[in-house]
Symmetry: C2
Subunit: 478 residues, 2 copies
């Protein structure tokens, strides 16, 4: 089977990015469909990416005082109903447990779509004095939302995530925490996943159900669509009042606490695939790649080759996440394609002639560049090369995001720009939800956020022509 | 508030070990009850123990080639029913999802009580040739079993665990894997948790629903009860046939694969509490303790004390999991009690006089022994002391297990021994389930296992008097 035939097995990314995405998810063995409708099986290669994201993020959380816990997955219906906006937002998309064994339950239990209610119930038991604050809790867990349309990683009925929930003495401290956690998310996405983010505050329409304000990090896909990659919410006292999270403050008076929550999920794996990748398949940034470099021995049946290559592998494996592909039932060409499909950042080719010359050939997955490296220098060069690739992949994405970010002054310009290359559209906005709805109706784009970095592009709202002081960024989403 | 008063707050362990257990779980802030019946909230201190167990175990898994994945939590009813024994064993204790949003589901979905069925369904898609084998998969996840009586950690409706699922070319390889994983469990429990285990094979009556054989590691509680701490199952082709996990073997013929599964859970935290501990609260072995040593400054308001102690803390914290208790609203005595309750292995007391003499006082949680250590030697001595404590706690447990393991030749002797000090009872057994049922009926003890280390204690079964060639160990359980 030749290279061409293999490559044909995935859809052309420029013809149909969505089908390309699905093909890559399955060919690279990141996930598979299951008989449970709308739920995927995350396969070991995909899960290893999630493990790397978890490890990096959890470390960042711990550095800012967050501790992990675990709360029940089942929430009694009456508990879910305590905060009005929250239940309205989530009730239509929860799964209900109505039977335990043979018995019908007296009260239905929902599978958590998110855990504000049950966590607030527990916090109200644990918080008595200002000395008990802040509580900086988090859990890594599964959640379920009964979505109608699903797509692997990007929108799955069940997904894995972390949800952080904090309670504070003051509004100021809580608001600072909201932004602190958002900054950790942008660090994870930019530094680990090599994807630039757009940061800002959601419009009230796009806020989390029950929040006072929602902050977001948004990424852009290969074809210019927007993805909400992580959110951080400031609740004020919206939950602490109905759930009675009260404390005795420093003046000895009883007061309701201030609350936040924030989350990222396995959707980041979808963002990763959609941000990097080409017609040869997945491209993984070295820092998050389960395999950072693969060694493909050439003519491995020849005497001494496999032995020497194995010794090189063992050495490199001390410092990098390595794979030695010594399968004897596949051609070298097949192996090249296979590892390219899986997005391994560097391929190292070593054959009898290379060994004679004390060298190896390094091939970059991101741009195909080859270089010959002396074996004595291989360990060091691989390290710098991986860093170069990480940076280069980020810059590549940043360039695309900048190219696909345009300014519009009218609805027609917005539509035209979106039809041409999707992307992020910057406009002014009057703040009226009717105008936001109109944009959605005419262009199919949602507001992504009001970016932290505001610009005064014009004086009027492109929809109603009234005075506008806020800049909003819009985009169509998956 | 004096020491005595504080200590009074938990039940005496020798009076009522079960109530002592519940008191410790709550006072040490390991877990709390929730409004979801039968489900607990695992608090940060308890969850940190689980994180340490996970980290140690996951590393051991990866060393023997296991990779992690994630499968859906919801299993369609028809899928659960494919293996007859399995569904009979689990159907009575599963929770059923019957509604998604507003809609009644066409087919009920159960929340996984364990995942053999859904994982076998996926494996049947992924296995084609002997070259695809073995598959060595595992997931860390939550499961739910609709238990009638629950107890924090030991038997909770929802619990966290890992479930490993492997498929192999040959029965021999699968059986070896079953025992390999059991050995990892005994390593985790003995080396990390400092609890000696009894290893053996379950009687057919006590086997996992659908298994050909179940191997177990059993531990003993403070009061001599038995706890099943981990199990490893060999399935033969019981699941691979109905789920059609077939492969082309090395001779080119189609064959059904051989399968295993194995699991440990947050129940281990219950085993840990129940194995170690006394009237002052929890005792944690250093290797699994979230905090290995706590520094309590004496007269911390005196000039220079807190500054110097903080510098000592910072130094030790590079090598050990440390806590500095500089709370200014509690007395030293309260702090001593508090950390003893939480089972921190070593307390380090440092006051102005200690600083003058360049020394610190180290107090062991396990036996209360004190020693004075020069500050220059503190880092090194803490390391050896933690090791000594780890070993000493294991030996203490081993001694108790040996003391509470007796031999019986008649049902009366079994009953007498159990009434006296619970414990493990060794007897011969004819192999007949009727005799096993009789033992249960008369003594309340279940068979724990047929130990790998068999002894020929007698020639006849203590129940029926017929020929007996197997030795069984029995015990009452929580």
């Amino acid at each position: 089977m030749g290279k061409e035939e293999f490559v044909k097995e995935i859809t052309n990314i420029d013809d149909d990015c969505v089908q390309w995405y699905t093909d890559v998810v399955r060919k690279a063995e990141l996930a598979d469909y299951t008989d449970t409708k709308g739920c995927i099986a995350i396969r070991p290669y995909g899960y290893a990416i999630w493990e790397n994201i978890q490890k990096y993020t959890d470390q960042k959380f711990k550095e800012v005082g967050v501790t992990n816990f675990y709360m029940p997955i089942l929430i009694p219906e009456s508990m879910l109903q305590k905060e009005k906006d929250h239940v309205e937002g989530f009730a239509p998309e929860v799964a209900w447990v109505t039977m335990g064994g043979e018995d019908k339950l007296q009260e239905r239990l929902c599978i958590r779509p998110t855990s504000e209610t049950i966590i607030s119930t527990m916090y109200s038991k644990w918080v008595k004095s200002w000395r008990d604050l802040p509580i900086l809790g988090n859990q890594w867990c599964n959640v379920l939302r009964w979505e109608k349309e699903t797509r692997p990683f990007l929108r799955s009925r069940e997904f894995l995530w972390q949800e952080g929930h904090t309670v504070h003495e003051t509004a100021k401290e809580a608001e600072e925490r909201t932004k602190m956690m958002l900054n950790i998310y942008s660090d994870v996405i930019e530094k680990l996943l090599a994807i630039p983010v757009l940061k800002g505050r959601k419009t009230p329409k796009e806020q989390f159900a029950g929040a006072d304000s929602t902050y977001t990090v948004e990424t852009m896909t290969y074809d210019g669509r927007a993805l909400q990659a992580g959110t951080s919410h400031y609740f004020g006292q919206n939950f602490t009042k109905p759930f009675e999270i009260k404390f005795q403050n420093r003046e000895g008076k009883e007061e309701y606490a201030y609350q936040t929550s924030w989350g990222i999920s396995t959707r980041l794996i979808g963002a990763l695939i959609m941000a990097h990748g080409d017609n040869r398949g997945l491209k993984l940034p070295p820092k998050v790649a389960p395999i950072q470099a693969v060694i493909v021995p050439i003519a491995q049946h020849k005497e001494g080759v496999l032995e020497k290559v194995t010794s090189i592998y063992n050495n490199l494996n001390k410092n990098y996440r390595m794979k030695l592909d010594d399968r004897d039932n596949y051609s070298t060409g097949f192996k090249y394609n296979d590892w390219e499909m899986r997005g391994v950042p560097v391929r190292i080719e070593i054959g009898p002639r290379d060994l004679e010359n004390n060298q190896a050939v390094l091939v970059r997955r991101d741009n195909g560049e080859k270089e010959i490296v002396e074996l004595s220098n291989l360990n060091e060069r691989l390290g710098t090369l991986l860093e170069e690739i990480q940076n280069s992949m980020f810059n590549e994405c940043l360039k695309r995001m900048e190219e696909k970010t345009t300014i519009a002054y009218t609805l027609d310009e917005m539509l035209e720009s979106l039809e041409k290359n999707q992307g992020f559209i910057k406009t002014m906005w009057c703040g009226d939800v009717a105008c936001e709805d109109k944009v959605k109706e005419v262009t199919g784009a949602h507001s992504r956020c009001m970016p932290f970095e505001q610009e005064q592009l014009a004086d009027i709202c492109p929809v109603c022509g009234k005075k506008a002081t806020k800049m909003v960024i819009w985009g169509r989403q998956y």
